[in-house]
Symmetry: C3
Subunit: 268 residues, 3 copies
């Protein structure tokens, strides 16, 4: 059995020593929190939209993070162009399929991107992931209202077929690479009340994937780390403003500490 | 006389149970706070700029919120297209006329939008609203430096003529639908020190209008709720960083509590 | 010798009484923090991207702040057009050369802007400034990893040749107008952990330059004020979320207080 606590320690140590540059093309809503989340876990953020600069940043980054929120036709092109460079260089590409399932277009845009680039990790909430996997789901805006019952099975099939890791966040996070699956049981209910927390966790998945090439494991560790930070913050306050402030504190202090107690990952 | 406390309770209960989707086309400055404010009061936020996606979101949202800050020619088009769909569906449209009065163009853009779409609620600070109503005002950037003396009377005339609710925020907020008017006396001076707090309150007005079809009343209740949250936060700290953090806490906890003391609305 | 504490008091008093409008064309990442920083020090922020509105705002502002982060071809044009109006009106122009040194394009874009507009104050971290001055540097994304050894000398030469003030932020900030130089020794290590703190300090430099026409002195005072706020926040918490919250508190309360102890500026 994997010693997840040791693996998490190793990942946080490597992020701290290598300071991987995570290049994000992300939505305008949570862009600052995404950047700060990357910084809090020990990596370095950079964000851009203009295609020519983005291509150069994809050419030096250690991971590429694409987030479908507030997507425009221009940012889509930038994503594809940056994705191709990332692919050629072999750096991990993480896509957060924000709002898949909310409207026909947001669903199709996510599906199209996943056809246009071969992505390493696809992440969303359970409604979004259910949608992408062809399951039933209700997504209201960016919020999962419901999802397909046997979601993990659906995810495994999708994962195998598309050779990508899938991450579905929720009270229990599902992670699968098609062969190995993880249930990540860390987290607190307050996390879902913070706008953009899903975007931040995807960015942290990207940071972990820059130092842990088993992308399924990297995703599970990142989600566990993120969830533990939420648990700690939740003990201080359950109100959104103070919780969010403490959440950033916890992400930062856990990354400093590295040897993190309380990892709850079940391997399947 | 209206029992405003009961009406506020009812509105917060309905927001909580219906979780209305509030679609915002808003400025880049306060976009995250706008989304979090919507979330804190119990509604669900979604924001987008690209016209095709925006039209689909306007087609499923329960209210449309348009904010004139950092407006571009493209976002203007998206606003008009989304506004037409919202109008056809009969969902409320709230416009925050950010920076009206600051420059000729920002004034004209707000005026033009209000001609191009029939809006349900127009909101701004007293300088911005004074400007739109044809009164005297000094607006420096997004800040009201001065406004017309008899502003409420001016607002009533505008309201009747344009069949829209008008909301002017300030130490005392003015709300009128042309027939009924409300003076909302809740609030704290610190609110004016937080960049984007006006944008957030407009978003909360939009959330309330999604569940209370008397838009004048909805606006007054939203402004009172927002002001009470500010009063509570102000008791904890009068410094901007901590105040803002507690402000989000208060918006959230009042929405959980629902039966909110301290409503100070005078009906005229 | 200059009594820096008195000069800082004078600057904060003038900002408070004149409430200068600072017009920023800045990146999407830290735009809210930039606006709040301007507000916290007592000035008034406004941000825009569309060229026609930007030109009108440059026509009424007391300082223009251009930040190269997330630059697009459109925002570049807006910067140049706004810069020309600012120049004609004689208001100070501050440029933050974000990401100069990170890629060929980000370096060239900063260099080109400094050719296209005659700027009053150029600011960056030591890697970015080293890059612009033709020195050696490693800039990873927006982070200075290393810089030229004799940076201050290099800066003086650049300053004289280009007739501009140069500010390089770091553990000790370097400020020079080519003739007079300042070492600003205020600050705390946590400031570097907050994404966008450099962008905020540049905005505060812009606010100070609106009331102190010795731009070298204005920059040194602004950086000292910013650093002292960081020192105070650091005494409360060394964790990113809480530190950032207290940082805003300190910027605000120092600006209220005006007579600020602990200024550590060495004139050279």
């Amino acid at each position: 059995m994997v010693d997840f606590q040791s693996k998490l320690k190793e990942a946080l140590e490597n992020i701290s020593s290598k300071k991987p540059l995570i290049f994000s093309i992300t939505n305008y809503v949570s862009i600052l929190d995404v950047a700060q989340g990357i910084r809090d876990c020990g990596a370095l953020p950079v964000m851009w939209y203009e295609q020519d600069v983005a291509e150069q940043l994809a050419g030096i980054a250690s991971a590429l993070y694409l987030n479908m929120g507030t997507l425009s036709k221009e940012s889509y092109k930038t994503m594809v162009a940056s994705g191709r460079i990332a692919k050629r260089r072999g750096i991990p590409i993480v896509v957060d399929i924000v709002a898949a399932g909310a409207t026909e277009l947001t669903t199709n845009n996510s599906k199209k991107l996943l056809e246009d680039i071969k992505v390493d990790i696809v992440k969303g909430n359970k409604g979004e992931v259910s949608t992408i996997c062809g399951g039933k789901a209700e997504v209201r805006g960016v919020e999962a209202m419901s999802h397909q019952d046997n979601l993990l099975e659906l995810m495994k099939d999708y994962s195998k077929e598309h050779e990508t890791v899938l991450v579905a966040s929720g009270a229990v996070d599902y992670v699968t690479d098609g062969r190995k699956s993880y249930l990540v049981k860390n987290g607190s209910p307050e996390m879902g009340l913070i706008v953009g927390s899903g975007c931040v966790s995807s960015a942290i998945v990207a940071a972990f994937s820059a130092v842990q090439r088993d992308y399924g494991l990297a995703s599970a560790l990142a989600m566990s780390y993120f969830g533990i930070a939420g648990e700690i913050a939740s003990r201080v306050s359950k109100l959104t403003g103070t919780f969010k402030c403490n959440f950033s504190d916890s992400l930062f202090s856990l990354a400093q500490k590295r040897d993190v107690d309380g990892v709850r990952i079940d391997e399947r």
